[in-house]
Symmetry: C2
Subunit: 262 residues, 2 copies
């Protein structure tokens, strides 16, 4: 099996490195600008690490760039190994970022929210891959298939749209939880009371399209409840605006959807 | 045990009636304006139903009003039984709606999203209760405690704020899923690929405050990704505005939060 260098020691790098290691790849080294992150991941895998871009190991077959988007160009330029396979893991970065780096390059974008210290079952995570030629696509596909049953070959435009959808489904839904948390804390109520509701709302998507599952006062634009809620938000004008805007969008979409069903 | 009449045959009425029945209460009758809903619920419990407000059974000890908010006044006026216990299940309706209906009244508000044909484990659902005097509070509390381990005595203002928080945590987060679904469908991608992400994002709240768990390009306001995403939404200006607004709010909150931690 090929030798890999992992560039990055954040959440995605950590989960990928651990899972690749578990599948028998030899991880030669971890690189990260952050010494504590690099040391932590390298320690788990009992492998060397470096924080110096000049000391990245040049012996590997595959370089996996699980870095912040903004850090990619400098690291790519430094490595400069035309014969290696270069793979990044970002949702919204073109694979053409590698065009001067080598002959074979691509993307392996895992669609999941990772926390360093929470295990996730990688085998069910969708991974979206892309490659600059047929052989590379097959190579990246075979690596991804070792990690998960859900591998999709997509183009850059689709990948960007998946990332955009994920921002709504993950980052923005989490922000809705966060506003709810703030409202409860301000009323001296424990956030715990919302947890069963949050879990059940998410579980529903397994069996029901969220468009069809939509409930709440906004669906029929229940003026009575909506104005009560908005007056409770008088001291948080930013959330009051957001409440109005989302309620109107829910109502508009529910009307459209009802028309479609007719 | 007391005899109950259930007013309403929607999702909340159905789950409450089934669980009260299972705990040994005798449900005398179901009332609903919708014959199909009334028949369906009554059929499950093998009890009579009526769709005629004039034929509501007057023999019960407890009347549970699990109706749309707008339907409450007419039904309350019709029943007019000063000695019965009157309980509604709404998040944002004052218990004072019963002030001319009888001596004893209150609220039993279950915080969950119910679907008629999906079982939920009632025993973990938070139920928020209120009553117009000490005996009534104790009575409603004893009923609620038969259904769930999580009973909270709250006032009307707190209950309204819980409902508001639930709109963000459930209705609005579901709408974020729904936008994500629309983006994927328009790109010929299956919504299925988002399900593991949605579940994991929700599961995270069990161990991490959503404010602390917030991730995504908006946290550091990554202009590069944010402008790419916004340009993908050029044909959906309503979601483009929403994307900008939520991203700015996430960024502002992340800055405040970082300041607090320092």
């Amino acid at each position: 099996m090929e030798d890999i260098v992992i560039l990055g020691a954040g959440n995605v790098a950590t989960h990928l490195a651990k899972n690749l290691h578990a599948k028998g790849f030899r991880i030669l080294q971890v690189y990260s600008r952050s010494e504590s992150s690099a040391a932590q991941l390298a320690g788990k895998l009992k492998i060397p690490f470096t924080t110096n871009i000049k000391h990245i190991n040049k012996e590997a077959d595959i370089y996996i760039y699980a870095l912040k988007d903004s850090a990619l160009p400098d690291v790519i330029k430094e490595i400069n190994l035309p014969n290696a396979l270069h793979i990044h893991t970002a949702g919204s970065v073109s694979m053409r970022i590698f065009k001067d780096a080598g002959e074979n390059y691509g993307v392996m974008y895992p669609l999941q929210t990772f926390s360093k210290n929470k295990e996730v079952d990688f085998s069910t995570i969708p991974v979206f891959i892309e490659g600059n030629n047929k052989n590379t696509i097959e190579k990246i596909q075979s690596i991804a298939k070792l990690l998960t049953a859900n591998v999709y070959i997509v183009n850059s435009d689709q990948r960007k749209r998946i990332h955009l959808a994920a921002v709504f489904a993950c980052n923005f839904s989490n922000f809705m939880y966060s506003i709810a948390e703030e409202i409860l804390i301000d009323s001296n109520l424990p956030f715990d009371v919302l947890k069963p509701l949050i879990i059940e709302t998410a579980e529903k998507v397994k069996t029901l399209s969220p468009t069809e599952a939509q409930t709440g006062p906004a669906v029929r634009f229940d003026d009575n409840i909506i104005s009560k809620h908005m007056s409770l938000l008088n001291d948080k004008p930013q959330y009051k605006n957001l409440y109005r805007e989302i309620s109107m969008l829910i109502h508009d979409k529910a009307k459209q959807n009802a028309r479609k069903i007719k």
